[in-house]
Every structure is written in C-alpha cells, then in structure tokens.
C-alpha cells in the first residue's frame, strides 16, 4: 500500500538564504533561515500568504525554531547561530493570546548554561561551555528543552524563567554533541540524540537518565516521540530511521534503506495520529514512512538541494478552500529557500 501526496503549493524564495527549520502552529508556519528575519506564513489559506515577518531576530541567522507539538500554538522558541535563544509569544493588544508575535524574552549565550534565572543578565552559571543547538517545547508550552554542543540538555521553566533541570551525558562538559532533542507529549520524558550515535531518554519527574539506546552508530540529527508516547524515532547520518519502544527501552527495528547509500536524514516528524513518520534528507527527498512495517510509502522532492526541515501540519477539520479535500498536509524546506506544501490525495 502506498500513499499519494500532491504538491499543494510552493512559497518560492520564502527567505533570501536557505531555510534551516520549520515549526507549525494550528494556523500558521514559522520558518527560520540563514538570514536574520523570521517569517510566519498562514496555513489556513490555500495560497499560504506571508502573515508576519520578524526582522533582525537573529543577527547571524537562525538554525532552529520550535513550537509545541500538539499544543495551542501561542509560544515559539528560536535559536540563532550566535547561541542566543528567543522565546516568542502571540498576543493581541489587550494581552490576550492570538495576534501578532512578539519577543517575550531572550537568553544570551552566557546565561544559557546556568541553573538560576538569567533574564537578559549576563550571568555566569555553571557549564557555560557548550553553545545551544536544538530546542523543543512541551505540549503545554510551559517548558523548553535545549541541548548544547558539550552534550548537556537543559530544561527551562518558561513562566519562572529558570533552568529547572540539567542532564549531563559526559563527564562535566565532555559529552558528545547533542544534535537533537524532543519532549514527549505528556511532558514526562526528554530524549536527546548525539553525534556519537547515542540516544538518551530522561525522566523529567525523577530527573534522571532512564534509557541509553544504541543502534545507530553514526551521528543522530533528529529524535521524535510518537504522539501516543509509545515509540521514539531517531535518525541521522546512517540514513535510516531507528525505532525504539519507550515502555521497554528496546530497539524494535529500523526502516528499510532506500538504496545502498541513503542520504543523511536531517529532520523527522510524526503525524497527529502517530500512523506516519516524515523524514527529510540531504538529497532533497522527503519521505512518508509506515513505522510499524518500516517501509516508505511516498517520496517527493522538488530539487536535489538539501532539505533541512520537514513537518506535518496539525490536522484541521476544515478544508483549506471550498471543494478542496481535507487530506493531511506536510511541508518541507531547505537549500532551495522555498517552502513546499504537500497534501494527501484522497479519493473524494
């Protein structure tokens, strides 16, 4: 059985330089690129118009943007190449949620590693060493997990603006570069993927490591919990996706590689029901996978330029336009600077 997807729309040249990260909300899509501005496109309109541009968000460019998976869509976080983290909130004039996005607070590099509150103050917390790389927001939009190049994972409480947890994966700052992070939807678990090929799972309530998962020997660039929290997917340079059972901490299998030489996978995303996995790779191909059988259901590519980020759009009950199907949608972006939107081709 394979699935059919059609290119629904392409936003050409959405950014002046290549796009490194995408993050959807129920009504819009954040995109971050090598240039300093962030862009937000509306996903409730079939032409995906530009809704807002945030100029000068990150002077050296932005490599990660995240929103809460399965969340309300009022909070977003971004990380710039200079190591600064910015948290954005969507509020209208009266302070109610919804409306324009504005900066809520910023963490400068020197304050990232600290355990104590460090709002814009260049504090010297412990573990200032590594630079911040990947981020993930909890579903209730109250916690932010971020990883650093020295293998640490910090969890921040956004309301109190303090770091409530730091997980170390190597002897004080000697850990392998943590390139990917994810929080389970129930907020209980944090997963990190590292350059060494290791995947770690931490229990946030207990504050400790629960699983150390091997299986992929090469750098991990993306980790993702399934929406139900039963499975954890990890992928990277090996070009295949490894799946782990969260309950038992076991490696349950890998996806079948597409060729002798599968390209590096840079991005992974589960759809809302947990039935399908999306992957984006450096050869420009976005693939839809069946995780239970490990087979690829569909492959699409616009160019052979690298794809840095792929995301499902949260399921919307309404069709985009009268007469259009309500099929599920996903998007992909990368070196071509365009954002491509695909929609499932349903019979009706």
């Amino acid at each position: 059985m394979s699935k059919q997807y059609l290119t629904a729309h392409t936003v050409d040249q959405a950014h002046p330089t290549e796009i490194f990260s995408l993050a959807p909300t129920p009504t819009s899509l954040f995109s971050a690129s090598g240039s300093s501005a962030l862009r937000i496109h509306a996903t409730t309109d079939p032409t995906f118009p530009l809704q807002q541009t945030i100029p000068n968000a990150h002077k050296l460019g932005c490599h990660h943007v995240c929103t809460a998976r399965g969340g309300a869509g009022y909070v977003a976080a971004t990380v710039g190449f200079g190591g600064e983290i910015k948290v954005w909130k969507c509020k209208d004039k009266d302070g109610n949620l919804g409306g324009e996005w504005a900066l809520q607070w910023e963490m400068t590099p020197s304050s990232n590693g600290g355990k104590n509150a460090a709002t814009n103050a260049p504090g010297r917390g412990r573990g200032v060493g590594g630079d911040v790389w990947a981020i993930a927001l909890s579903t209730d939009e109250s916690f932010l997990a971020c990883t650093t190049s020295d293998g640490r994972i910090h969890v921040w409480d956004l309301a109190g603006r303090e770091c409530i947890q730091t997980y170390e994966t190597g002897s004080s700052g000697g850990g392998s570069f943590a390139m990917a992070v994810d929080l389970s939807r129930d907020g209980r678990l944090t997963a990190s993927g590292h350059e060494s090929g290791a995947v770690y799972v931490f229990n946030n309530d207990a504050g400790r490591l629960v699983y150390s998962l091997s299986g992929l020997a090469k750098p991990i660039r993306a980790v993702a919990f399934s929406p139900g929290g039963k499975l954890l997917a990890a992928a990277g340079n090996a070009g295949i996706i490894a799946l782990y059972s969260v309950e038992h901490g076991e490696h349950v299998g890998n996806t079948k590689p597409s060729s002798d030489r599968p390209a590096w996978i840079m991005s992974l995303d589960w759809n809302d029901t947990g039935d399908y996995l999306l992957s984006g790779a450096l050869d420009g191909r976005v693939k839809v996978w069946d995780p239970t059988r490990g087979i690829c259901l569909a492959t699409h590519s616009e160019t052979d330029g690298a794809l840095w980020s792929v995301r499902w759009l949260p399921r919307n009950e309404r069709a985009l336009a009268p007469g259009m199907s309500k099929g599920e949608m996903f998007c992909a972006a990368g070196a071509s600077r365009s954002i491509s939107f695909y929609r499932e081709a349903t019979g009706s």
Partner: protein, 462 residues
C-alpha cells in the same frame, strides 16, 4: 572530460589542444602534456612595470628628524622622546572600515628617557636601536629582516614577537608601512609558474613550472621588484597548504592545467605581509589575472581567505595588502555534499542490522537499556563512552568546540561590516552549513589519490 570551450573568455584554442584532449581520454598513467602556447593573437603586453611603492623618502626623513630631535635633547639636557602609538583595534571591526582610524582605540604614548621605570628605559633603548637599524637599511638600500633585528641583541629585545610588535607600532606611528622602513619579515610565501620577475637590482628570476631547489621559489618583497612578465598566465591560485602547493608545482600543473597557464602561490597557512603585498600588487597591475583561493572547508580556512581578501586587524594600517577580488574556489560545502563517497555513501555499518533487512518486518533487537526499576535494584545509570564516528573518507571530520567558536566569530566579523557584499554572503552561508552539518573537510577531500588536478581543471575553467 569535455573541454568547456564555450566558456573560454578570450582566445579560441586551435588544433594541438584537441589532440591532447583525445589522448587524455585514453591516458592511464596521468602523464600530462604541457599545453602549447596560444597562437598569434595580438595580446595585451604581458610585461608590466611595478610602480615604486610606499614612501621611503618619507620614512627616511622622519627617522632623521626624530634622531635630530633626540640629539638636540641630549645637548639641551632635556628628556629624550620617541613618539610611539600602539594601535589596538576593537574586535569585530572590519579591517576595511577602520581606514582612517575611525573605530580604533589608540594609546597615544611617548617613550621617554629617562623613563618612569626600568621597562620604559629598556623600551626606549630597543626602539632607538630599531630606528638606527632601519635608518642604516634605508641609507644603504638593503633590506633587514625582523629576525635579523632580534638577533642583533636578543637580551635587549627579549623576544621575536616583541620586535614584531615594536616594528609594526613604529611604522604605524610614523604613518608608513613596515616595508618603508626597509624592514621585512623573512620570506615565507612560495610561488611557481611561468613568469619572470625582474628585480630592481638588475637580477631576473624565472619562476618556472616546477620547484627549483633552495630558495628558488620564495616570494620576494614587492619593493625590490621592478617588472613582471606574466607571459601567458591567466589565473593565479593561492593555496592554504604547502603540501598541496608542492604536489601541484612538482607535477608542473601551472603549465598543464586545462584552464591555461597559471601561477601557484602558497603562504603556508596564515598569510604573511610579504605574500599579501606581492599578490595585491600583482592584481592591481594586472587586473585581468583571475585570482582564486583554495583553502580547507573549516572556519580557519575561511579566516585565511578573508585575511587575503581584506587584511588583518593588527596590520590594518598597511597599504596595498588586500585582494578583495579573490574568489573562493574551494573547498565548498557542495564538494562534500555532492560527492557520493562522503555524505551519500554508507555501507550499512549498523552492527545490528544483520540480515533482517531482507524482509519487510522488523526483528526485535536487543540494545543497551537501563530500564527504570524500583529503588532496590536500581543501578546508577552508566554513562557510556563515546567515539567520534569516523567517516569513510578520512578527510572529513566533525568540528571541535574551538572550530565552532571560531566559525561564530568569523560570522560576527562578516556581519560587522555595514551591508556585506556577495562574497560575505557566500561565506556566511558556507559557515552556516558547516555548523549545521558539524563537519569540516580538508583539501584532500576532493583529490583522487593525491591528485587534485582534475578537480582544479574543472573549477578553474569556469
């Protein structure tokens, strides 16, 4: 390999060349034939004069008037004074932007004798000695190296880097370039290629296709050069690594390149002033000579590229040392990403994949797992040791922490300039990719068992 003749800029290539191409397809031993000279098309003159540079007279007269004022002070019993500004640039200021000393902080100082303390006395002594040596050098017309100065009196000068600093600061104070004081660094850069350099003292150096022994390939101080005959050369390639330079020079690449005759240069790593001034002058007297840079794909390589292009902060006061038209030939991210031997290729090295991949089902496989148990039998979670994965191609490696810091600092430098140009944008994008992939690659990445000629042919011909 098809000859990109449609992309040739000026001179159509005649018969002998296509014969060479035919034999190229069947060649096995990779013995390259030197290309014949192009046929008789009236070409602009290949012999160019180097205009005298700098202000030697200015330096000489300033030194003499300074020495005179010191003599006067001795006679009158006043304090002896040497003006001495140490130029300090604030980090992140673009070299190009601070020409008139705009954003730089300068400590306007004088060094006095008798001094406030023993250090000042020693410094006065050292500076006076340097002035004396420079004066002598200017009068005789000889050049003196900084190394030579240091060895005149190692106890007085304390260290080579102290001498270097003093010489540069003196030059800056007097408003001249270091070369105007007839003080040079020991020659470091190398050059190979079919050009002739006529020196002001009458000697002619023919650099040749290969490497001659001894000092035959050293880049001379540009002030000693009177004329240069470029002959047929169309391109100039600056190479970061000496080893790559030597391999290419030894194989005579300057004359066997499919892109035409060219010049190979290396500064053996971070560019020195003599090499930079030489290249800058060559390009200004012959702008039609395309200049390219070949550096490693890492933050240090980009930093070297930018130093050739825009200069260094410390020596910002030096003139005629920049090469903004220098094009970045490689190594670029596309060299890593498009080569199937590197990013795309992985034999399935997953040790647990086994043969379960033949079926479409998963096999349940064990893994190192430390399940969360009750507090009784709980073990402290072990943190396993990791190995940095070694890619199949040894020339590609992960970035280190310092590499990443360096990349960010170079990016800040690029962004510091008001509205960076297309070269700056290109460098930003490559650095971002470097950080995203977390890899760096050496020049050796694109070679074919040590032979980089094919790759260069392709790139230089565009």
């Amino acid at each position: 390999m098809p000859l990109p003749s449609s992309k040739r800029r000026q001179r159509p290539i005649s018969g002998p060349k296509s014969q060479v191409q035919g034999s190229a397809r069947t060649r096995v031993l990779r013995r390259r034939q030197p290309l014949p000279h192009s046929p008789h098309i009236p070409a602009p003159s290949s012999l160019v004069s180097i205009p005298p540079q700098g202000s030697h007279d200015g330096a000489l007269s300033q030194i003499e008037s300074l020495l005179e004022s010191i003599l006067d002070a001795v006679i009158n019993g006043a304090d002896l004074v040497i003006p001495y500004q140490t130029a300090r640039s604030s980090p992140g200021v673009s070299p190009a932007a601070s020409g008139a000393g705009g954003a730089r902080q300068m400590t306007t100082e004088v060094v006095k004798f008798p001094g406030r303390n023993i250090q000042e006395v020693k410094r006065f002594d050292a500076l006076l000695r340097i002035l004396e040596l420079s004066h002598e050098a200017l009068l005789t017309g000889n050049l003196i190296t900084k190394r030579n100065i240091y060895y005149q009196n190692t106890e007085l000068f304390r260290s080579q880097s102290a001498v270097n600093d003093m010489v540069d600061n003196l030059a800056f104070t007097l408003g001249v370039g270091r070369g105007d004081l007839n003080i040079v660094a020991a020659a470091r850069g190398l050059i190979a290629g079919p050009i002739d350099v006529m020196m002001r003292n009458g000697a002619t150096v023919h650099y040749g296709h290969g490497l001659s022994g001894g000092n035959g390939n050293l880049i001379p101080p540009i002030n000693s050069v009177d004329k240069v005959d470029f002959h047929n050369t169309r391109w100039l390639l600056v190479i970061e690594k000496e080893a790559t330079f030597r391999t290419l020079a030894n194989s005579g690449y300057s004359s066997t390149s499919r892109a035409g005759h060219g010049i190979l240069v290396t500064a053996k790593g971070f560019p020195d002033l003599v090499t930079r001034r030489f290249l800058s002058t060559l390009h200004s007297v012959r702008p039609q000579l395309n200049v390219f840079a070949l550096v490693d794909f890492d933050p240090h390589g980009v930093s070297i590229l930018r130093t050739f292009q825009y200069g260094s902060q410390r020596l910002d006061h030096e003139e005629n040392v920049t090469l903004p038209h220098l094009k970045w030939l490689g190594i670029r991210s596309l060299d890593i990403m498009s080569r199937s031997s590197i990013i795309m290729s992985h034999s399935l090295q997953d040790p647990q994949s086994g043969d379960s991949q033949t079926s479409q089902e998963f096999s349940s496989q064990g893994s190192l797992a430390y399940p969360l148990g009750s507090s009784d039998d709980e073990r402290p979670a072990k943190r396993p040791k990791y190995n940095y994965p070694r890619d199949s191609n040894e020339s590609v490696a992960p970035l280190t922490r310092d590499d990443r810091k360096k990349a960010v600092s170079v990016m800040k430098q690029i962004c510091g300039e008001r509205g960076f140009d297309s070269a700056g944008l290109e460098q930003m994008q490559e650095l971002q990719r470097m950080l995203m992939l977390n890899v760096k690659a050496e020049i050796q990445t694109v070679d074919n068992f040590g032979d980089i000629a094919d790759w260069l042919d392709e790139r230089l011909s565009v």
